[in-house]
């Protein structure tokens, strides 16, 4: 009996059926339970496969905010694309730079120009990283989780390492990510030493990211 169940360890149904009379009501019941167990195990596998799924965001808001005694300047972008791989924690953002909109047309033109962000040459900014505390985030359970992202940010063709904090909010199928972090313009080859840009544009810009993801 023992050796047999060892040789066929997964077959609990047979084990129970051996104990129970084959044609009894309980025998049939156990056979049903057996099938049920298999179904539950498979649905569990299916659910964890779902957890590994990729989340895609084509609905986002990125805000640049620069503050100096001379003036506050902000720009908004609603056209970024992002993905999160909930299996390995990989995160990526692609941001079309010409999608940043300013109140003033002149500022927007300056922003795009070669000496500022050169958006014709470098039309997209990119963030590629990994959520390092993936264990702390349960994508299958509603809630708000703190996330740490480490990776690389590329603006104007210059790449720098970053490590930023954010939050991930799970609400059913909908996952939103939020983060506020600082970007030092000089790190990306954007520097002004004199004139209005030097006095009116902050050396360090506050970047606010808000993205809504759907499974895909």
């Amino acid at each position: 009996m023992k050796s047999k169940s060892l040789r066929n360890p997964g077959n609990y149904g047979n084990f129970f059926l051996r104990v129970m009379p084959v044609n009894s009501y309980y025998g049939t019941l156990l056979r049903s339970i057996n099938i049920l167990v298999v179904l539950i195990v498979f649905s569990g596998l299916y659910a964890s496969a779902q957890d590994d799924a990729r989340l895609v965001s084509e609905k986002s808001h990125i805000r640049f905010f620069s503050s100096t005694p001379a003036e506050d300047i902000e720009a908004h972008n609603y056209s970024a694309t992002s993905t999160i791989n909930t299996g390995n924690g990989n995160v990526a953002f692609s941001v079309p730079m010409q999608g940043f909109e300013f109140d003033k047309r002149l500022m927007q033109r300056h922003f795009n120009q070669e000496r500022f962000l050169d958006t014709q040459q470098f039309p997209t900014a990119r963030l590629v990283g990994t959520i390092t505390n993936l264990d702390a985030i349960d994508f299958s359970s509603n809630g708000k989780y703190d996330a740490i992202i480490e990776g690389e940010l590329t603006i104007k063709g210059v790449t720098n390492k970053i490590s930023e904090k954010g939050t991930v909010t799970v609400n059913g199928n909908r996952v939103t990510a939020e983060s506020v972090f600082d970007v030092t313009l000089a790190d990306y080859g954007v520097e002004f030493t004199s004139g209005r840009p030097a006095s009116n544009i902050a050396g360090t810009i506050e970047v606010t990211v808000h993205a809504e993801y759907q499974p895909q």
């Binding site: 990729r54 895609v56 084509e58 609905k59 986002s60 808001h61 908004h76 609603y78 056209s79 694309t81 992002s82 993905t83 990989n90 990526a92 692609s94 079309p96 730079m97 010409q98 999608g99 909109e101 003033k104 047309r105 002149l106 927007q108 033109r109 922003f111 795009n112 120009q113 070669e114 050169d118 958006t119 014709q120 040459q121 039309p123 997209t124 990119r126 590629v128 808000h210 809504e212």
Partner: protein, 158 residues
């Protein structure tokens, strides 16, 4: 007497010049954003051809469609409506993409033109006018094709 007259004329000229200078400066500073819908169209394209152009040679397509000051080309794009959504600014977003294409054209409307999207349904073939912001490409890190983005859109022909 004559000298006084010359001085008076000079003062008037200097003041007028200063006023024009300040006026031009203020105009530049407060210059309103372009009204894309009132501007002439630079290119008429299909969504398929436009995405294909970017996927074939993105550097060349960027040079052709994107301007250095960010005031890029005005396009009339014709394609099949594949998806209708809304962005975080409350603007409608219409994705023009043929079923066989790898990428499409994502057209963002404005608060003024949102209304026009109410008439659209997925499957409709439509022509949309707007300004291009970025091209299509395959992104290795996203592991997906990124769409062309067009903004300040309105429907030209349904």
């Amino acid at each position: 007497m004559k000298r006084k007259k010359i001085i008076r004329v000079l003062i008037v000229l200097v003041v007028a010049g200063a006023l024009i200078g300040v006026g031009a400066g203020l105009y530049m500073f407060f210059m309103p954003q372009r009204n894309v819908q009132n501007l002439p169209v630079d290119f008429q394209v299909t969504a398929s051809d436009l995405t294909e152009e970017f996927l074939n040679d993105i550097t060349r397509a960027n040079q052709k469609y994107l301007s250095a000051d960010g005031e890029s080309k005005i396009l009339e794009v014709t394609g099949k409506v594949s998806r209708i959504s809304e962005n975080f600014n409350g603007e409608k977003v219409v994705l023009l993409k043929d079923d066989d294409d790898k990428a499409g054209v994502s057209a963002t409307f404005t608060h003024d033109t949102n209304q026009a999207v109410n008439e659209l349904e997925p499957g409709d073939v439509v022509t949309i006018k707007g300004v291009i912001r970025s091209g299509a490409y395959y992104d290795q890190d996203l592991d997906m094709f990124v769409n062309v983005t067009v903004e300040k859109s309105d429907i030209i022909n349904l």
